[in-house]
């Protein structure tokens, strides 16, 4: 059974805060949910499906449903794949709606890493630290692994195998900064150059400070509805026409290859369901925890051949109005926002803005009728979950 077009994203909202000392994480979930529902023209009582991940405080879905006053929930999903969870949730919401389990699915994310709150579940909640309590903990968490150095390991091997350079990676940050200058809420609004990136201090070889995303408080929410509900609303209908997900890990240590991500599986699944190819995509939200994350995923999704990502992203090819693949026109996680160290929901939100024609005029892609949002959660260098959605303006 094809799920193509079985549901629509009708509400999308990004919390404008980037520093929230005076609010709880639960409160940011609520505020995001309320505004996303208002964006769709819906109310809390219309919600019958609720989706959240590890950033939801307390007993996950149970605590949040009660806290937010959701009275009509008949479908719960708290699948956790780190930062990509919310992209994966869009796919799960389509499945639930197509199966008749709900009609209005609410997805929320929020957290406050700048206040020492939020971060990863299961202990070890310091931002950027791998969590403990997992079966691999004794053999991995003791070595000082963080997002920086585990992604650094991927970049180091990608450079070794394919000749990728720091200057090529820097172009990804440069493109994001060109977009962020137009976003009044962006955490970093200054346009940077390749030289700025490669001359910024080394954090974990070969990743420099400006190869890394921002750390921000914040949140966001999405509303996915059935076609019937979508047609009753006075908003542009953003149809979910394809979704795919895939986990990837060290697999018992055999055939370890850190130069590709789970996008090699989630991408083709989503493209096959949608019946489109990478060449058809007008705008792409690509998870950008680090510059290397973007480069690997662009290759893995098929926007260019494996190993050619460095050449593909160079010379402004990701800048809206300049290059062939406008990406992360809100400034992405690299410049705009990476709420509670999870950038998945903002990837979908900016794709929805582009498809509605509501992106900033300076970065709006002309005739943007087909977009992709893709994310990687967890760590590219150890184990992660990849999720892809393909969206079409109806």
């Amino acid at each position: 059974m094809s799920l193509k077009g079985k549901a629509y994203i009708m509400g999308a909202w990004e919390h404008p805060t980037r520093d929230a000392p005076d609010k709880t994480t639960a409160q940011l979930h609520f505020e995001s949910a309320r505004s996303a529902l208002a964006d769709a023209g819906l109310a809390f009582d219309d919600v019958d499906g609720y989706f959240c991940a590890g950033d939801a405080p307390g007993f996950g879905g149970m605590s949040m449903v009660d806290y937010m006053g959701l009275r009509n929930v008949r479908h719960l999903d708290s699948t956790e794949t780190g930062g990509s969870s919310y992209i994966l949730h869009v796919g799960h919401a389509v499945q639930a709606i197509a199966a008749g389990k709900c009609q209005v699915a609410l997805i929320t994310l929020a957290g406050r890493p700048r206040q020492g709150q939020g971060g990863r579940p299961g202990g070890g909640a310091r931002p950027g630290q791998l969590s403990d309590g997992a079966p691999e903990a004794g053999f991995e968490n003791i070595y000082g692994g963080s997002t920086h150095n585990t992604y650094g390991m991927c970049a180091m091997r990608h450079m070794h195998d394919y000749g990728t350079t720091s200057e090529q990676l820097a172009w990804i940050k440069v493109a994001a900064s060109h977009h962020a200058q137009w976003n009044e809420h962006a955490f970093l609004k200054d346009v940077v150059t390749v030289e700025d990136v490669v001359n910024s201090r080394m954090i974990s070889d070969p990743l420099h400070l400006l190869d890394c995303c921002v750390v921000t408080d914040g949140g966001g929410a999405l509303v996915v509805t059935s076609p019937e509900v979508a047609r009753s609303l006075n908003r542009p209908r953003i149809k979910v026409i394809g979704s795919g997900e895939a986990p990837k890990g060290p697999s018992g240590g055999h055939g370890l290859d850190l130069t590709y991500s789970g996008a090699v599986w989630s991408g083709p699944r989503a493209f096959a369901e949608a019946g489109v190819t990478p060449a058809d995509i007008k705008y792409a939200s690509i998870y950008d925890s680090f510059t290397i994350t973007v480069l690997m995923q662009i290759e893995d999704l098929g926007f260019c051949a494996k190993g050619q990502g460095g050449r593909f992203v160079a010379d402004g090819n990701l800048i809206s109005g300049v290059g062939k693949l406008p990406f992360n026109t809100d400034g992405g996680g690299l410049c705009n926002n990476h709420p509670t160290n999870r950038g998945g929901i903002t990837k979908v939100i900016e794709a929805v803005r582009q498809l509605r024609g509501e992106a900033h005029p300076r970065v709006q892609v002309a005739n943007c009728d087909l977009a992709l949002a893709h994310g990687t959660g967890g760590s590219l260098g150890t184990r992660h979950g990849a999720a892809t959605v393909i969206l079409e303006r109806e």
Partner: protein, 136 residues
């Protein structure tokens, strides 16, 4: 802590979480022996050690002492550390599996992918010693 007991400068490895599945590994580590798990059903060695084989789901796994030799698959030098730079990376053991570890006893900037390394055990903070690798 007396001067004599002071740990060497650099990052101190925290005590590893020891479980019923991994206890024999850490007991051997305390004796300076490096164990890996091998499946007697399919013959493959795996890492990290489990009670079952992640390749064929057999329970027939045995501990095997390894010389702990292999080559660097990749690494990254973490510069943002209060105790000075340290190196995390994967070593591909000669038996096949890739192992996440720290590379030690070297100038981090001299490390290269493909370089031969060998295991040694490093004291941890109140736990059994942990396997780390140094240039062979």
């Amino acid at each position: 802590m007396s001067e004599a007991e002071a740990k060497p400068a650099g990052r101190v490895i925290p005590a590893p979480a020891v479980t019923v599945e991994s206890q024999p590994f850490w007991d051997a580590a305390a004796e300076g022996r490096f164990l890996i798990k091998r499946c007697t059903a399919c013959g493959k060695a795996h890492w990290y050690p489990r009670a079952f084989c992640p390749f064929c789901a057999s329970d027939d796994t045995v501990w095997e002492e390894s010389p702990g030799e292999g080559e660097i698959y990749t690494f990254s030098i973490m510069r943002r550390s209060p105790t000075g730079p340290y190196v995390i990376g994967y070593v591909t053991l000669d038996e096949g599996p890739a192992v996440l570890t720290n590379f030690v006893d070297c100038d981090p900037d001299s490390l290269r992918i493909g370089q031969r390394v060998k295991v040694r055990f490093q004291p941890t903070e109140g736990g059994p010693p942990a396997p780390v690798f140094r240039p062979a």
